[in-house]
Symmetry: C2
């Protein structure tokens, strides 16, 4: 337990709490802010004035309420003017977006990513997308930072991608490469795609209000973003959540990480295509074709989907016993697998997970869908703003 904050810290913390509230919940009356934050009216007024002074929020009279008395002013995040850049480096595509305070996607670009493309090659492509988007940015807009979501293990201290088994990246400095290319003088924060997608769903998606959440994200491999006790679980170096590399078969199939029998060899893209007799195929479309075939009655595809679903339930049961979450979210290709094999997953969960750990678990698909990595990457940038709002710009 730390000592209580100083006067300066108190002000920063209260500014952050107010700005976070309108960032997450949108326009809010001063009266509601007073109640929700437990601060008095004059403090709310002073904090709002400070935030408005640097252009982060605006105030306006509310619409006619029909009630008597002076209406409470509405505090609104400056979503069109205050924004972060968000990037997503995925196995087969690159995305860039401009996300407003409040979480709205203001603009977005998508590019193919040839397999094997490294950070130094990806950065100029993403920078080109940003240049295009900059043409639509109002002259008085404020860019508060940039965040990157990437498939791979990201060192927290400097955003180095240590290992991306599915992207082929080893020690790729994507944050530094983007910083050099963009020529924008804002901090760039890098996070694992499952971590930042979980962060987004926890901040403003299906897991809002849940303190213990496992967000499984499948692309070619499988990772997890984990919220424990209301906070992101990152681990010592930032590499926590590599659930795809839990071994589920002692001498199983070789995995791209160099080991064998990892969970993702059974539930990831390769495992499912192999089980469906389509080892030569790859990519999201090939995977979706298996689900389609199963849907249309193809026996081999059905067996493959059931089998992968059983393995998905097997691993989720382990995670439920270890984390006792209140929600498990199935994102990326895990969403498709969950929807196609929910019965197998539930059955395996019921037989493998401890009753007490399982009793309040809700299984869900993401609310933010494919935008979650971008929204989460932007949240990384907004976190810095919320920690010290008046330090903006």
């Amino acid at each position: 337990m730390r000592p209580a904050p100083s006067q300066d810290e108190v002000r920063r913390q209260n500014l952050g709490a107010l700005l976070r509230h309108v960032h997450v919940h949108g326009a809010t009356t001063r009266a509601e802010l007073t109640t929700t934050l437990g601060l008095n009216r004059s403090t709310i007024g002073a904090l709002t004035a400070d935030l408005a002074g640097v252009g982060l929020v605006s105030e306006e009279a509310p619409r006619e309420t029909g009630r008597a008395g002076r209406p409470s002013l509405v505090v609104r995040p400056e979503s069109d003017r205050v924004f972060a850049y968000a990037y997503s480096v995925e196995v087969d595509r690159l995305r860039a977006a401009r996300i407003g305070l409040g979480g709205a996607v203001l603009d977005q670009r998508e590019l193919d990513r040839p397999r094997g493309l490294l950070a130094a090659e990806a950065a100029p492509l993403l920078a080109g997308a940003v240049k295009e988007m900059q043409q639509g940015v109002p002259p008085d807009a404020i860019c508060v930072g940039a965040g990157v979501a990437v498939c791979g293990m990201v060192r927290r201290d400097d955003g180095l991608v240590r290992l991306g088994p599915t992207t082929g990246w080893v020690d790729e400095p994507i944050g530094a490469a983007l910083g050099a290319e963009l020529g924008i003088d804002v901090p760039i924060t890098v996070g694992n795609v499952a971590d930042v997608a979980a962060f987004a769903e926890h901040a403003r998606g299906v897991a809002a209000g849940c303190d213990n959440v496992i967000y499984l994200y499948g692309d070619v491999g499988v990772g997890a973003g984990i919220i424990a006790g209301g906070r992101r679980l990152t681990g010592h170096g930032g590499y926590g959540g590599e659930v795809g590399h839990m071994k589920v078969v002692r001498d199983g199939m070789p995995c791209e990480c160099g080991s064998r029998g990892c969970w993702e060899t059974e539930i990831g893209e390769h495992g499912l295509l192999r089980a469906a007799g389509r080892s030569d195929a790859r990519g999201r479309d090939a995977l979706l074709a298996v689900f389609d075939a199963a849907d249309r009655g193809d026996a081999r595809a059905q067996t493959a989907v059931r089998q992968a679903g059983d393995w998905l339930g097997f691993g989720v049961a382990n995670l439920v016993n270890v984390f006792n979450p209140e929600m498990v979210i199935f994102g990326g290709t895990m969403r498709d697998l969950y929807l196609a094999a929910a019965a197998q997953i539930r059955s395996r969960l019921n037989s493998n997970a401890l009753g007490a750990c399982l009793e309040h678990v809700r299984l869900r698909t993401p609310k933010l869908g494919a935008d979650a990595p971008l929204i989460g990457a932007a949240e990384l940038a907004f976190e810095r703003l919320l920690a010290d709002p008046l330090d903006v710009g």
Copy 2:
């Protein structure tokens, strides 16, 4: 992010921070407290006076330092007067202790626990031990609460033991039973033994200063106390850390939890005795006999220990990939297994864990030894005190 604390909360938080410092680090000069806590001298003086006023700390002149100038007063926790009761319900024994503020074991009693003994039967035995200890309590002493460590899954809200596969407990209200028997008007907090042992090692043991820790605790079964980002991972209902019930073999040996192939069927008491050809034996002594036999060159015992060590490494590798800890602690019977099979464990870790997750992991045995559950149970009680020190008694 919450708004900043109010004036009252600031005072409570600072009182808690100062008391925690001397509780963990022992007697400390005012000058050191000023530096460490980052508060000014007059604030430290006022906080110390408040804490001394309710009998939680005392102040005295330091021993002669030989330095010039007025020496800084030393603030000392009232370890002999301020205490918590701690209980530990284990598979084959019951323990009760009186633990002073500062973490010293002031008194301790141990009783056999016949297998099958339920909460309503255990409580009077523990209450008897407390009655004995009460004779040695100074008349002006302050009991701040009681904590219980128990092998089993503990519901956080009310301390109900939902399931203790190795104790045979199902929905046993040990906290309520102890409260009724003891007739002491103090709050009783119940926690899983691995959780509270981890808490103790994190507060004042081998993991002091580590923010990401896995403490494996073996008795008959195996559980973990997990510290993530500096905080205990409890999960939604309090059941997190049931790592012994990760499935490592798809259709493995039956487990006492009702499922099959759980990790503890390979590394727990039954698994090791079975592998050593001693399935009829049970208990800690039988287990130690296997390690002894292996040490003396018994081939079957050596094979059993190597095999169990390999499985121990297998599961730890999974946890390393999921949590990216900086320390793994082997407690209870896991300590014996770790010491007997360190080579197998390290080898399996090196081949199964991801390099980045593994690079800063230290493998350790507990510092607090067999007292960790008791010290951790007392810490549960001290937590309440530290949250609001002036509410004592």
